[in-house]
Amino acid sequence: MIGTLTPRRAATGVAWLGVAALLIVLVAGLVRQSRPPVASIRTDRIAPGFALTTFDGQPLSLASLAGRPVVVNFWASWCVPCREEAPALERVWQESRDRGVVFVGIDIQDTEPAARAFLREFRPSYPNAPDPRGEVAIDYGVVGIPETFFINREGRIIRKYVGPLSETSLRAFVQEIAR
């Protein structure tokens, strides 16, 4: 009897395999869950252009910054981590502006009064502009806030960072694009 493959045996075998596979996948799912999400992703694509008007009424476009390394930071006034990283952004910008690095803040999913209050509170000296229809954010594929993109002199996005940036990592990432 042993060794002959009856439909019954085949069906039993399939049932065991199916159950084993399901359980393995679920175990893997549980294990994977406890890993933190990756915050920093290396990418390499041409940065989408944008043309906005800053809160001060100045035009701001990526095209006008061609040839310079650019840090694009998406933020919103209601976003708590954005408050955390705001001082770091300002400080690193002050350090690196002499090397030609440009910082751009883009405010998304916000109301204007709240955004202006945020700017009054943190006083960033780099240009900040609202993106009222969210089109720039969608063009960049922004999902969470804050999200920061590092664009090199050739206009390529080299790195994307999700979540609040610390001063150290921000400095390191700016180093990458300022080379």
């Binding site: 439909p7 069906a11 999913q109 229809r133 969210g134 089109e135 954010a137 969608i138 063009d139 960049y140 594929g141 999902v143 969470g144």
Partner: protein, 179 residues
């Protein structure tokens, strides 16, 4: 047997059914005419997953990003962009996972084939089983030797009788010359 009161049923049963279904048809037809652009926009939004939500499409999400995406879809449609191009735009930004259905090509083609293969396998197994059963007639199988053979048997006779009286078809009735 067929004597007794005349049965009024058939005519009005048919009438009621047809009326009900006619009404249904008219109800549905009325809906079929909708603004083309509006419908196209909705269909595109339905095919996209809201990137900041848990399993809700862009069409159904109440999040601000989804609202902005819907507005962008409409804007692109008004600008004359074809549907494929709009969907491709979002896929390029958010990856394949922005689609509510995995693409039927490349790696995810297998995903689509698995359930179809599963159903087909089920049918094949069923066919093989039925054929096998018919090829080897029951070992000791007389009449229903099943669990509640007695009640089943009694019930069967009763049903048979009712059937016969009802003039409805019954395999026993067909064979027995008495009717």
């Amino acid at each position: 047997m067929r004597s007794g009161r005349p049965w009024p049923g058939r005519a009005w049963v048919t009438l009621i059914l047809l009326t009900a279904l006619l009404v249904l048809g008219l109800v549905l037809v009325d809906r079929a005419r909708a603004d083309d652009l509006e419908r196209e926009a909705r269909e595109i939004a339905r095919s996209l997953q809201c990137p900041v939500c848990q399993s809700v499409s862009v069409a159904d999400s109440s999040s601000e990003l989804a609202a902005q995406m819907r507005a962008l879809i409409r804007k692109k449609l008004e600008a004359g962009e074809p549907r494929e191009q709009i969907v491709a735009y979002f896929v390029e930004r958010y990856g394949d996972s922005v689609l509510t259905e995995p693409p039927k090509r490349g790696g995810t083609l297998a995903f689509w084939l698995v359930p179809i293969a599963g159903v087909l396998a089920g049918l094949v197994i069923l066919g093989a089983l039925l054929r096998g059963w018919r090829a080897n007639p029951a070992p000791g199988g007389v009449e229903p030797a099943g669990v509640n053979a007695r009640t089943a048997e009694v019930l069967r006779r009763y049903e048979e009788r009712v059937r016969r009286e009802a003039g409805g078809p019954s395999d026993i009735a067909e064979k027995s010359p008495g009717t």
